[in-house]
């Protein structure tokens, strides 16, 4: 579903990704962990070209992002959820969700709204359709953001530290939604510090540091039997 081949990314002189090779199959829930500044978010952001790699190939659902025409098509098929929600503050929750399907998929307003209401029901916010983002709590906003991404009927969902900006008591409501998504078989890539989520839901855990994937394996392998010294050090600090 997602292939990254020798992906490098530099910001000016700073090389953030030093050759990422990755192959994600349909139905996988890949959790990326690593210290801050390790490049883990950049790996994720290269998957939909929010960050354009300096070199290397990213191929999503058979489309190489090197070809400019593919970029918007890939983005329409890849949902993304951000750390800071990034809901559109001037629109109601319903309009946030229905905008992209109407403009890109050319879905009728009525149909888009019907889908949006279903999704809102799914994330437990059907009563908030007419609210504005500022009227919602962080956890509620993030659930709307997930619904907004799902409205495009994506094949993959990317999560960039989706719970890091939330108050502790709101973390579980977002994780629960993500868990049910995973159970439905959604292909997911999640950058997170929630090790509980990684263990419980992840099918594969990647440890990234210094712009490289240092360890890759099942949650049991990585958490209970890490091979790399830096993985061991990182896990000893956070577990």
């Amino acid at each position: 579903m997602i292939q990254m081949i020798d992906v490098h990314k530099s910001f000016g002189k700073l090389e953030v990704l030093k050759g990422i090779n990755l192959d994600i199959e349909q139905g996988e829930v890949v959790v990326i962990i690593g210290p801050s500044g390790s490049g883990k978010s950049t790996v994720l952001r290269c998957m939909n070209y929010l960050e354009e790699p300096t070199s290397g190939d990213v191929i999503v659902d058979g489309m190489n992002l090197n070809i400019k025409e593919n970029i918007n098509n890939v983005r329409a098929e890849v949902g993304m959820v951000f750390q800071r929600f990034n809901l559109f503050p001037h629109m109601t929750v319903l309009d946030n969700i229905t905008l992209a399907p109407q403009k890109i998929r050319k879905v009728s307003k009525a149909e888009a709204e019907a889908t949006a209401m279903e999704l809102l029901k799914k994330v437990g916010l059907a009563d908030k359709a007419q609210a504005y983002p500022e009227q919602l709590s962080g956890g509620q906003q993030q659930r709307v953001a997930i619904a907004r991404a799902l409205a495009m009927k994506p094949k993959v969902m990317l999560f960039d530290e989706p719970t890091s900006a939330l108050d502790p008591e709101m973390v579980h409501e977002v994780l629960d939604v993500m868990k049910s998504l995973a159970e439905e078989g959604m292909t997911m890539v999640v950058v997170t510090h929630e090790m509980g989520f990684a263990k419980e839901v992840g099918t594969r855990v990647l440890f990234v540091d210094g712009g490289q994937i240092l360890e890759s394996g099942s949650p049991a392998d990585v958490f209970d039997n890490p091979q790399n010294d830096r993985t061991k050090l990182f896990l000893s600090k956070i577990l």
């Binding site: 939909n48 929010l50 918007n72 098509n73 983005r75 329409a76 098929e77 890849v78 949902g79 993304m80 951000f82 800071r84 990034n86 809901l87 559109f88 503050p89 001037h90 905008l99 992209a100 403009k103 890109i104 504005y132 983002p133 500022e134 953001a145 907004r148 991404a149 495009m152």
Partner: protein, 218 residues
């Protein structure tokens, strides 16, 4: 000296006609300036350096020279180049629009920059194009953010239109001059002119205040 009230009352209709013309030219100029400024600010985000450079030259040129000189250039100098006279009304609106556009483009730039980068990313991540994201997500928010500075520009332009009196265009200030030339009532007429300007600019501030409250940034 005594203040001759009847001088004001007798000439009030003439002054008010001038005030209407002032309002017209202000709306025309800020309206055109708004369009010019919006286009210029978008062009300023272009990937192509020559386009950005062109916008920068435009802004610096028209912000960095007096509006009075710009009016002279368009009304007196330009006809010598193109070979025929330019109507004072056209010259006045053109000069004021281009001048206003330079300021408005800077207002837009600041407004767009004030919108969180995550908004553009969220739009693009959904598959919207840059243009669609600008149109549906960034611009509507930027519009709200720029209401106050745009109001200031409107007020400034309304006062600056008095400069077009120098090319004989009969707006409020020119009307005042003409009445004084006939009646020698400098004190009365300039007082009346000043008060009419004040009433107009105060009305705009009221309107801007109302819009600000109505479109409170969420």
């Amino acid at each position: 000296m005594s203040f001759n009230w009847s001088l004001i009352w007798d000439n009030l209709p003439l002054l008010l006609q001038g005030a209407v013309v002032t309002i017209q030219i202000t709306i025309m100029s800020v309206g055109c300036g708004f369009l010019i400024g919006m286009i210029a600010s978008l062009a300023n985000m272009s990937r192509f350096k020559p386009i950005r450079l062109l916008v920068k030259c435009y802004v610096e040129l028209f912000r960095g020279t007096p509006l009075l000189v710009q009016i002279f250039m368009i009304y007196f100098a330009l006809p010598m180049v193109i070979g025929h006279r330019i109507d004072p009304y056209v010259a006045a609106v053109t000069a004021c629009s281009i001048n206003s556009g330079a300021y408005v483009s800077e207002i837009f730039r600041a407004g767009i920059q004030s919108i969180d980068k995550g908004q553009m990313e969220a739009g693009r991540s959904l598959g919207l194009t840059w243009g669609q994201t600008m149109r549906y997500i960034v611009m509507p928010q930027a519009f709200k953010a720029i209401i106050p500075p745009l109001g200031n520009e409107f007020i400034a332009m309304m006062k600056d239109t008095s400069l077009v009196s120098v090319i004989g265009f009969e707006e409020l200030t020119r009307r005042g001059q003409l009445i004084i030339a006939r009646t020698y009532g400098s004190f009365e007429i300039w007082s009346a002119v000043a008060i009419i300007y004040l009433i107009m600019t105060l009305s705009i501030s009221q309107l801007v205040g109302y819009l600000e409250r109505r479109y409170k940034i969420k």
